[in-house]
């Protein structure tokens, strides 16, 4: 099944291939390559608009996830009943926000990958509303990124590091 990348903004130049190649590895590691996934790159204006509508927070943010399968237990893979169910949902990346958060020595596509991985974990039922939930999510992200680091030689850390 497909990873579909869309770029709805012009503030930050986005090359799709580097993001795709990294996320293909992440999807493999998570065992979800059979599922459709959408990654949509948006600017601050758009992500703030979405944040306001769906989370009542009128500020831009780095990532918002919209799961296809709601109420999944953390780390539970969806059980599709039909071909249409092979869908995880969409991850909106606030690329303008992420770009401005990037430190000087950080690779933008590495940070995009870390953020998209975080968003993907949300699609798979992980949350960080409590310390226990956060611990589960952090462990999952760490596992995935360590494997990704082994494949790519990067040294990525989970987005949720230091949250609690």
């Amino acid at each position: 099944m497909s990873l579909v990348i869309k770029n709805l903004q012009r503030v930050v130049p986005i090359r799709r291939v580097p993001l795709r190649s990294r996320m293909d590895v992440v999807r493999s590691i998570l065992g979800v390559k059979d599922f459709d996934l959408g990654i949509i790159c948006v600017d601050n204006k758009r992500i703030q608009h979405i944040n306001r509508i769906y989370r009542k927070k009128n500020v831009p943010t780095d990532v918002l996830s919209f799961p296809f399968h709601e109420n999944l237990q953390a780390g539970e893979l969806p059980q599709p009943h039909s071909p249409d169910d092979y869908n995880l949902g969409d991850v909106f990346l606030g690329v303008e926000y992420i770009f401005h958060q990037c430190r000087e020595n950080e690779d933008f596509y590495d940070i995009l990958t870390v953020t998209a991985t975080h968003g993907l974990c949300h699609l798979l039922g992980f949350t960080h509303n409590s310390e226990i939930e956060w611990q589960k999510m952090y462990n999952q992200e760490k596992l995935v990124l360590e494997e990704l680091n082994r494949c790519t030689g990067a040294s990525l850390q989970p987005l949720t590091k230091g949250l609690y």
Partner: protein, 279 residues
């Protein structure tokens, strides 16, 4: 004044051929006969004799206007010219760009009527982007919402934008082939930009054509992206991005195309006014 004449749907070609077909099917000659102006000599009255049927003035060919220009002048033409005068005035008032906006990056612009060509050279590669502003304004939907109680309906015209298909041609200096990519803007309804999740532009078809060959060859393989592998599609998009054809370019092309279309529309109205006036 609402620029009512500017609601030109994409299917204008089909609509006009439909109109022409309707005219052929049911002749409207009687309706096309002019109502004579007062300056015309009343030839119909001169031919009246006692006891004979009066010839219908509608069947007589009207004499040329006494102004001597040799053309036909009707009350309808006069009203038409007055209408066009007002329309041209209003269109010039709302004209956003008096001259064509510039594209960022070192693009050279050539305009030939309704066709525009952007040219650029990047490290031995020649890149051209061609588009035509005819039929480039998508139909305006909406406007069916009723005003809420107690409020007047505001006269809100949707801003007409021109989103033409554009063809990118990439020629490398040592190649006899030109890579041709047909790109489209999404067919979204106007005013729904906030909620759409479409790319700003997409590649629809890709093919090779012989460099310098002005004729399009149907026998060359054309890749349709509708069912293309997404990874390959992303490579094509990155290929264009490297050559300056990215979302910024696409947005600026809309500005340019809209300005050109508006300019051509005003020129057309002026030509129409001169033609109808014919003085």
């Amino acid at each position: 004044m609402l620029p009512l004449l500017r609601c030109v749907p994409r299917a204008l070609g089909a609509a006009s051929s439909g109109l022409r077909a309707a005219v052929r099917a049911s002749p409207l000659r009687q309706l096309l006969q002019p109502a004579p102006r007062s300056c015309l000599r009343p030839f119909g009255l001169l031919s009246v004799r006692a006891g004979s049927a009066r010839r219908s003035g509608l069947l007589k060919t009207p004499a040329p206007c006494s102004c001597g220009c040799g053309a036909l002048h009707t009350e309808g033409d006069k009203a038409f010219v007055e209408f066009l005068t007002d329309e041209i005035k209003e269109e010039k008032k709302i004209q956003k760009h008096k001259s064509l906006p510039k594209m960022s990056g070192d693009w050279e612009l050539e305009v030939n009527g309704t066709e525009a060509k952007l040219l650029r050279k990047v490290a031995g590669e020649k890149i051209t982007v061609t588009f035509n502003i005819n039929n480039s304004i998508p139909p305006a939907f909406g406007g069916e919402e009723e005003p809420s109680q107690g409020e007047k309906a505001e006269e809100q015209e949707p801003e007409l934008t021109s989103t033409p298909n554009f063809v990118v041609e990439v020629t490398k200096s040592d190649s006899k082939k030109t890579l041709v990519l047909d790109c489209h803007y999404p067919e979204d309804e106007i005013g729904q930009e906030e909620d759409t999740e479409s790319d700003i532009f997409s590649i629809k078809e890709v093919s090779f054509q012989a460099t310098g060959d002005s004729e399009w060859r149907d026998t060359n393989y054309t890749l349709n992206t509708d069912s293309l592998d997404w990874a390959l599609y992303d490579h094509l998009m990155d290929f264009l991005e490297d050559r300056g054809i990215d979302n910024t370019f696409a947005d600026e092309l809309v500005e340019l195309s809209t300005a050109l279309e508006h300019q051509e529309y005003i020129t057309f109205l002026e030509d129409l006014k001169s033609f109808v006036k014919s003085q």
